[in-house]
């Protein structure tokens, strides 16, 4: 889909992602998202924050079609996610790199195999896959750990493997759900730097996190989810009226 830019000169100007009045409720009495609207331009870097259970993960899940909206619509590159056929969902997901909050590593696969999965699925030759995976593991500080099984890794190492898998296929959109929750502060800053580097290559990034210290490092657009509503803070939380609640 990224190649599509060449053929459609207006594509670069269109927002990469549009949430338009999205409602989502798992239980009727307690909706998670109530009329959530948001437009994200190509190449933006955006934080999503909010208290536990506010709906950050839900927002991302709707995006990669693991959940369906109850009302409203989500447009990714102009296409409505909720209307994709069963067969085209995999092609949507190939354009999105996702760091899952619970990592979702395959425990009995090696680190190499876990990280290489998005490339395997594309049918790339083994050699190319291994080369690319090796590079990415270096970037997350796990060079040389490729042949260990995912189950023996520490919490932070697993998280970095999950990050490596999300970026290995150079997706157009990167969704990171609490990707630094198990990392020490130094490593968290390093990983944030990695996301910024990737962002610098033109990738759109949505970064869901609780970590206020990360939000404060550089003023970025922040979306705060709370009680089913979203507050959009274009230039970071610094000085904004939202306290530490």
């Amino acid at each position: 889909m990224r190649r599509g830019q060449r053929f459609d000169p207006t594509a670069a100007d269109r927002p990469v992602l549009v949430f338009d009045g999205v409602f989502k409720a798992y239980r009727p009495d307690c909706p998670v998202l109530r009329g959530f609207s948001l437009t994200i331009q190509r190449g933006e870097f955006m934080f999503v924050t909010g208290p536990s259970g506010a709906g950050k993960s839900t927002l991302l899940r709707l995006l990669y079609a693991a959940e369906q909206v109850d009302a409203g619509r989500i447009l990714f590159l102009g296409r409505e996610v909720g209307r994709l056929t069963q067969d085209s969902v995999p092609f949507l997901r190939r354009n999105i790199g996702i760091v899952f909050q619970d990592f979702k590593l395959i425990e009995n696969f090696t680190v190499l195999e876990n990280v290489g999965l998005p490339l395997q699925v594309l049918g790339l030759p083994e050699r190319v896959v291994n080369l690319r995976v090796g590079e990415v593991l270096e970037r997350v500080g796990l060079g040389g750990r490729g042949h260990e099984r995912a189950s023996v890794l520490s919490g932070g190492e697993k998280q970095r493997v999950a990050i490596a898998r999300a970026i290995v296929s150079e997706p157009a959109l990167l969704l990171a759900d609490e990707p630094t929750g198990n990392l020490d502060p130094q490593l968290a800053v390093d990983i944030l730097g990695l996301f910024e580097d990737i962002h610098a290559t033109g990738v759109t990034v949505m970064f869901a996190t609780h970590d206020r210290s990360l939000l404060d490092i550089r003023p970025r657009r922040v979306v705060v989810l709370d009680e089913g509503r979203a507050f959009d803070v274009p230039q970071g939380l610094e000085g904004a009226a939202l306290g530490a609640a």
Partner: protein
């Protein structure tokens, strides 16, 4: 890695469970193979009896040798008859006794064994033609009765159709058993690997990419189950054949034989198809992630 590599990897990592399931499929197939073996051999016996075209013309005890000669000549001249042999009373007794080795028969008086003319007819001769011939012979003087072995054929046909029915019922049970074993194994493999499946789908694998290895595993289980059954029954068969061949041949009149290779290959392919089908069906729910 293609579906075969992935299936192979999964089966190796779960070797024991797969071996157990192959063995279970094998046990189910053993019943089927045994039934087929019986059917195939009964079929041979039946074929032989239907084509053997033998008639026994029992003679009255006091038939004069010239009449016997006349009869012999007349029979040889009948179209469809390929040979005639005169079996006198004592010989009949000896023959029967050597066949059955039965003391009860030895106690029978000589008159129990009438002399006969054993008529061989050409194989091409139909059943009806032989019956017709028997009717005509029946009314000749000196002929006590004519045995066309229609009785035996009918009995064999009953046994045979019974065997076929049993084999059919067994086939159904075996199909059920194979499908149930394979699908429970696949379902459980799926449950065990649900994270793998979920992750694959989330990183953009198509349904067929996800399904591939499971279907290969199902097919492998079905086919290997059939192989196990064929080997088990084959081993049993060669043992039985080695030990009892002479008796069985004497009893049945034909050499017993194993399943023809086409049937064995069919079983193998059928097993594979069945396993793949069972796997496919168990995977249907997987479509939704």
């Amino acid at each position: 890695m293609n579906a075969f590599d992935r299936a192979f990897r999964a089966m190796r990592s779960d070797l024991e469970v797969h071996l157990l399931s192959i063995f279970s499929v094998g046990v189910a197939f053993v019943c089927l193979v045994t039934a087929m073996l019986v059917v195939v051999n009964v079929q041979h016996v039946q074929d032989r009896w239907q084509h053997i075209g033998k008639l026994s013309v029992y003679l009255n005890a006091n038939t004069a040798p010239e009449r016997i000669n006349d009869l012999d000549t007349a029979l040889r001249a009948t179209p469809g008859v390929s040979g005639v042999r005169y079996v006198p009373s004592e010989e009949a007794r000896r023959e029967l006794m050597s066949d059955h080795g039965d003391d009860t028969l030895a106690a029978l008086p000589e008159q129990a064994f009438p002399a006969s003319l054993e008529v061989d007819t050409q194989e091409a001769l139909t059943f009806e033609a032989r019956e017709q011939m028997a009717k005509q012979l029946q009314i000749l003087p000196g002929v006590e009765s004519v045995e066309t072995y229609a009785n035996w054929s009918a009995k064999l046909a009953t046994v045979f159709s019974g065997g076929v029915t049993a084999a059919a019922v067994l086939t159904l049970i075996v199909l059920g058993a194979v499908v149930s074993v394979v699908s429970s194994t696949i379902r459980m493999a799926l449950q065990k690997r649900h994270v793998e499946v979920e992750v694959l789908k989330l990183v953009g694998a198509t349904d067929s990419y996800v399904r591939g290895p499971f279907i290969v595993e199902g097919a492998a289980q079905g086919a290997l189950g059939a192989v196990v059954a064929l080997s088990l029954v084959g081993a049993l068969y060669s043992f039985v054949r080695g030990t009892f061949e002479a008796h069985l041949t004497a009893l049945l009149g034909v050499n017993i034989s194993f399943l023809p290779w086409t049937l064995s290959a069919g079983l193998l392919l059928g097993g594979a198809a069945l396993g793949a089908g069972a796997a496919y069906l168990s995977l249907r729910r997987l479509l939704v992630v």
